[in-house]
Symmetry: C2
């Protein structure tokens, strides 16, 4: 598969990825490699990765605890100390091997260590492959505020090794599908249909490729997120608030990112039907398709009020008003839409019906 080229780096796939990495290591005069994993990718992905790595450089492994609850500044502090103690310098390279938590947090650690060292992301979850691979967003949570702290900086390259998906549980895999469905909803009705037609054990490779292409096209057209890039936030305005809210309720209630975004897309689909031109038939298609893959979430009245309170912290919020991305139809989105507050509860009611 051909590499997908962004403005400053390339996304390589499978064998081509290892080849590109090994050539890069030969060319650049790095002083040392630092590989960040969590305990899952350390066990499931690291052996394969190391066996494909060809370099004379010293390699240090740093392991963090897995899970969104560890996407914190405290974890960054631990890794910054580890890098210092292991002698990382400005010519060290960091490779982040893991899901979105590892690549977002590892990217932030690299961008801020000694005012920035180079890094490479190797996403191992479907979600990180189709989402975090493009856009250069790094970040960590601040309390229950998602990605409140971070910077934008591009990696040296991104390697998508589809083989790593075999190590994922089904729930984790589905979490990635939410972002892929979103890519269809905001930019291609055809891709949305193809995703709906996927059978349980169909290979995902070509779909991942299309998702990376779609996201790259959108980001290239609007690198500073002033304009059309905002369509990538479809489902995320309410989705992020939902994710933040349940993150605070402990492990049992916590939703994966894609699970929260799936709810967000149904809710914002409803808002699109009420305020934009999305037809009822397409709205039902979105709801049925997503509820087939994602279990319905129970919201108490208290939950809903807490979620709406969190909305005002959302980083898309500017000058006190909340902007939504809405759909005109499946495959076509519109940005900067204001939503009257009373519609939020209606949207939850539609979700629960």
């Amino acid at each position: 598969m051909d590499a997908i080229i962004t403005d400053t780096y390339s996304v390589y796939f499978n064998k081509e990825g290892y080849k590109a990495l090994n050539q890069h290591l030969k060319k650049e005069r790095y002083s040392k490699l630092f590989l960040l994993t969590d305990e899952n990718t350390h066990r499931d992905c690291l052996p394969l990765f190391l066996s494909s790595l060809e370099t004379d450089l010293e390699v240090e492994i740093i392991e963090m605890e897995a899970g969104e609850t560890h996407k914190t500044i405290d974890t960054c502090v631990q890794i910054w100390y580890a890098l210092s103690e292991l002698g990382a310098d400005r010519r060290s390279l960091m490779i982040n091997l893991g899901g979105g938590v590892v690549t977002d947090l590892g990217g932030f650690v690299a961008c801020t260590f000694k005012r920035g060292i180079p890094f490479i992301n190797v996403p191992t979850s479907l979600l990180a492959m189709v989402d975090a691979s493009i856009g250069g967003k790094t970040g960590v949570d601040l309390g229950n505020l998602k990605n409140q702290i971070g910077v934008i900086r591009q990696p040296e390259m991104v390697l998508v090794m589809v083989d790593f998906l075999k190590t994922l549980e089904k729930r984790q895999l589905n979490s990635g599908f939410a972002e892929m469905f979103k890519h269809g909803l905001i930019s291609s009705g055809k891709y949305w249909s193809d995703l709906k037609d996927l059978k349980a054990n169909d290979p995902l490779e070509s779909h991942i490729y299309r998702s990376v292409q779609i996201k790259n096209k959108i980001v290239l057209e609007d690198p500073t997120e002033k304009d059309m890039r905002k369509i990538l936030n479809f489902g995320h305005t309410l989705g992020h608030a939902i994710e933040s809210h349940f993150l605070d309720k402990g492990e049992n209630k916590a939703l994966l990112h894609g699970e929260a975004i799936a709810v967000g897309m149904i809710l914002e689909g409803y808002l699109s039907h009420r305020l934009s031109s999305l037809g009822l038939h397409q709205l039902e298609d979105i709801k049925n398709t997503l509820l087939e893959r994602f279990r319905k979430v129970d919201f108490t009245e208290e939950d809903k009020h807490a979620i709406l309170a969190l909305l005002k912290f959302d980083k898309k919020n500017s000058h006190g008003s909340i902007n939504f991305v809405l759909l005109k139809r499946i495959g076509d989105a519109v940005i900067d839409q204001q939503v009257p507050e009373d519609l939020f509860m209606e949207a939850f009611t539609y979700y629960e019906e």
Copy 2:
């Protein structure tokens, strides 16, 4: 005084500064202002600053504790939370009113909050005026490792209000002179002489202006610090290690940045005499001039060994070797010089003589 123009922003002086700020606030559509101070600048500088500020925007004041020991990620976390709770969004502007600790840390907080909000620096110490005003370095310490965490990003503008120096204690003022002497040593013998001739109560305005000009010229010629910009590190390789070492020893022993750099310049002056072409007469001139303004520091054998151990953490360090900036003569520096380890103790002996 004319503004000094960097590649992306301008440094304004005195009345012109307030004028430029007020025009900027009128032009940009910020949502809210956040003013970061420490307890000293809150008391000594904020009233004057606020009385000169012309804006209809809401202004929130955030105060941090003064001093290098508070230049930590913990302080950042407190300010990130304060910004979140006070409703800062991506169109909020942060103004950092204080010495280098406030401008370095406040800049880092702004660059990383919601992946970056705009900020303006108003340095209130001589050191911050002549040093932190140019170059876009932001950062905080990690344990006793100075500026280990940070990013490079330029402020919207820098305002140098020389009046604020009246609020400084003499020791703080002298700390700034170390960087000004450095500007003379690395790039202008004439400026070095002029600084030596300064009497106790002479106005400093034109000297500050020349220091900002010198630093700006060096940074403009090498924005990515690949090359000649490194001459700004003269005195800093050993100076930083000395500063870090005593920072760890508690308030009584702690040295101000300029005090540590003054020692570093004498030590690295000695290395320049031994390894480069700096003549003995000029070396003595450096030592005598600096010891006239900065009290001699007592080093135990233990101190010296601990300082040399810290050297290897210095961020100018790459591939395990330590690079020094040395002087060929006063006003002319050379980068990337290797120093044999046994000379370090000799340099301390020369300092102590």
